[in-house]
């Protein structure tokens, strides 16, 4: 008799896949096709909510070798990620309807199919019960998002796709796999457990090497210098960028990194490792460097891309700080940045669809043309910067507290400086949009209604997260980290 | 009687040996390919015959006798064939014998 947790976990994994044949069958009636995606998304979110209610449970899918199995396990970290992803899927679909049709793109069916597959992989990743499972779904995410990145099919898109794939797969083959096998070699198993899997007799040097391998092997976390794939993936249509930056890919990366730190090494171990300071400073440096690069980008989407790189720096920083507060901070930031950044991308896409503007220098006065869009943008930007009354405050607050706990005073400076840089390069956009004179004969012309709806929802969520951030924090702290 | 056969066989053998040697000498001494061929011919015909004959006398009645006979026949048949083939292909290969005062219009 399967426990309801088992059934729900399997359901969370299979539901998006069940949508695939439906989408394929309905490929000639777009409305039905998107309806399927939306419906499945909604169902998936409900499934995740009920998983949240259950709180615990697990299932072994298949055992390949003794102590090497595909298995799912419920734990708060995964639940947070699962909830975010499953919530944002239908929203993104909603937005994509407007975008893809407004743009009448080809291969829309393929787009929705692989979107669903990617979400399924993310579910598996969020609820993976051991490192091997995590790795498998991590790679499935990579493969399933490749067709989305190269959606345009142009030579440029293929080139970007190649960078995307070779960097992500390269890092995971050359660093991630040896890290995983090394873990098996030293620990004898790969099962996630609070406090880590290693016995005390494993030398800190070996552990440091492993941690380093993980840090670079999980390329989706875009830890510098392995961040190049993210700007390269800018060739993708905006809904995909949203998926990459907010829902699936980069979040999968940082989530995996946090999971590894918490459940493979254990935060206490990581805190003591000789390599940790180096990684912390690497993350901090990444934050600032990426911000500086972002400031010099005039292309809207690539500025957002570099912004993501540095924001991911926050999350990895939190992971390496390895205090309970810091971990909570990075998890919160996964959520906050997800909603903030997806709003920003939605806005960029809306601009592009409605007015074919992709450069920031073209945005003067556009605020009067697309008021809703730019108000939403401002909210998202403020959340990412970390100003009240928006969700971003919480994550930055706990990250700062985390760096205090771990005694990295310098990181306080890094965080505050980068917030200033954020203000500069994010608020420049609404500033241009609202303060500069409007183009003559400007009338209000937003993007398609579905897109605008999606934008509004995510923007409002940024506020909601400010209000409910405390509860979220409590839930995360309920997780056994040690 | 046996000593007579022994004597005969010895004579054959020695004579054969001498002819063989002469043939070999010819192959070494003669000026060009075609002339050497003649010397080789000596060893294939009479010399071989004499030696095999000597052996036949030496071996006495029995299967070996016939085998020797076969060997002799074979040498006699293949010897000239081989030298003919040699000469022919030498000719085709563009080798010209000295003192070739034939009108080779068909070559």
């Amino acid at each position: 008799m399967m426990s309801s947790a088992t059934q729900l976990l399997l359901l969370a994994l299979t539901l998006p896949l069940l949508a695939v044949p439906g989408i394929l069958l309905a490929r000639n009636q777009p409305n039905l096709r998107e309806a399927i995606s939306l419906l499945t998304g909604a169902l998936l979110f409900i499934v995740n909510l009920s998983l949240y209610q259950l709180g615990e449970g697990g299932v072994v899918l298949v055992e390949i070798l003794p102590r090497l199995a595909l298995s799912l396990e419920l734990q708060p970290l995964g639940l947070v990620f699962g909830l975010v992803a499953s919530f944002l899927w239908p929203i993104t679909t909603l937005y994509a309807i407007g975008y893809m049709r407004g743009h009448d793109e080809d291969n829309q069916t393929r787009f929705y199919v692989f979107f669903a597959v990617a979400i399924a992989a993310v579910m598996g990743l969020a609820y993976s019960g051991n490192l091997f499972t995590l790795f498998v779904f991590y790679e499935i995410v990579t493969f399933s998002t490749y067709p989305l990145v190269t959606h345009a099919g142009t030579e440029k898109a293929l080139k970007g796709g190649r960078t995307y794939l070779s960097l992500l797969l390269g890092t995971s083959i050359v660093f991630f796999i040896p890290a995983m096998i090394g873990t098996w070699f030293f620990a004898g198993n790969l099962d996630f457990q609070p406090g880590g899997v290693f016995r005390d007799d494993v030398s800190p040097i070996a552990l440091s090497v492993l941690l380093l391998l993980f840090a670079f092997g999980i390329g989706k976390a875009a830890l510098m210098p392995f961040h190049r794939w993210l700007p390269a993936a800018m060739v993708a249509p905006t809904p995909v960028s949203a998926l990459l930056h907010a829902v699936a890919v980069v979040k999968a990366g940082v989530f995996s990194l946090v999971t590894v730190v918490v459940y493979i090494f254990g935060i206490d171990t990581v805190a003591k490792l000789p390599i940790t300071p180096f990684l912390v400073y690497l993350a901090g440096g990444g934050i600032l460097l990426a911000s500086l690069v972002a400031m010099r980008q005039d292309n809207f989407k690539s500025r957002l891309a570099y912004s993501t790189v540095s924001q991911l720096g926050y999350i990895t920083l939190g992971a390496f700080l390895a205090s309970e507060a810091a971990i909570a901070g990075s998890l919160l930031h996964i959520v906050m940045h997800a909603f903030g950044k997806i709003t920003l991308f939605f806005c960029a896409g809306a601009l592009y669809v409605a007015h074919h503007k992709s450069q920031i220098s073209e945005l003067d006065g556009m605020g009067r043309v697309m008021p809703v869009t730019f108000i939403a943008f401002t909210l998202g930007a403020l959340s990412i910067i970390g100003l009240p009354p928006l969700g971003g405050v919480w994550s930055k607050w706990f990250l700062m507290q985390g760096s205090l706990d771990s005694g990295y005073w310098l990181m306080l400076a890094v965080l505050s400086i980068s917030s200033l840089l954020n203000i500069v390069y994010l608020l420049e956009i609404p500033a241009r949009a609202f303060l500069k004179p409007a183009p003559d004969g400007a009338t209000i012309q937003e993007a398609r209604s579905t897109s605008v709806l999606a934008i509004a929802i995510t923007a409002l969520m940024c506020i909601a997260l400010f209000i409910y951030g405390g509860d979220l924090y409590e839930f995360i702290r309920s997780a056994r980290l040690t | 009687m046996p000593e007579l056969t022994t004597l005969l066989s010895s004579v054959c053998l020695l004579l054969g040996a001498f002819l063989i040697f002469s043939g070999g000498l010819g192959v070494l001494r003669f000026p060009d390919f075609f002339t050497r061929m003649h010397a080789a011919g000596v060893t294939e015909t009479m010399a071989a015959t004499l030696i095999v004959l000597g052996l036949m006398l030496h071996s006495g009645w029995g299967l070996p006798l016939f085998k020797l006979l076969f060997i002799l026949l074979f040498v006699m048949i293949t010897g000239p064939t081989a030298s003919h083939a040699l000469a022919k292909s030498a000719l085709h290969g563009g080798l010209r014998p000295q003192g070739d005062n034939a009108n080779n219009e068909r070559h």
Partner: protein, 160 residues
Amino acid sequence: MKHTVSIFLVLATFWLINSGYYKPLLLSFGLCSAIFVVYLTHRMDVIDHESHPLHLFSLKLPSYYVWLVGQLIVSNIDVVKRVWSGRNSISPCAEWLPLSQTSDIGRVIYANSITLTPGTVAMDLEDDRVYVHALSREGLEDLRAGEMDRRVSNLERHGE
């Protein structure tokens, strides 16, 4: 047909003489191989009066052989002499000589006889003439005299 039979007999005797063992198994092997070879020769279609000149067998053949052996001895001695008496004793020469045989087999026998006797080699053969290389002019002249030619033709004439 008679050719087939004769070649089979030849092969069988060849086997019998060469294998010293007359046990049923080995004998049957011999039989099989002989039959197999006959089959092959049939497939290659080489059994006819050309390859297997039965019609030449007659009383004249042995007598020709006797004469030929005589020639052999003579020419052998001649060549050996020249070998020992050095270079200037030889006068190599090559010429086309006429021949009077009418059948291919006849010409072949003539040419082979020429080659078999040391001192002369038949290098090329055409319908009405043979290209001969001789170690000495005398050898060539003897051939030109044409006794061998006549004997072979007469041998073949019996065949018809």
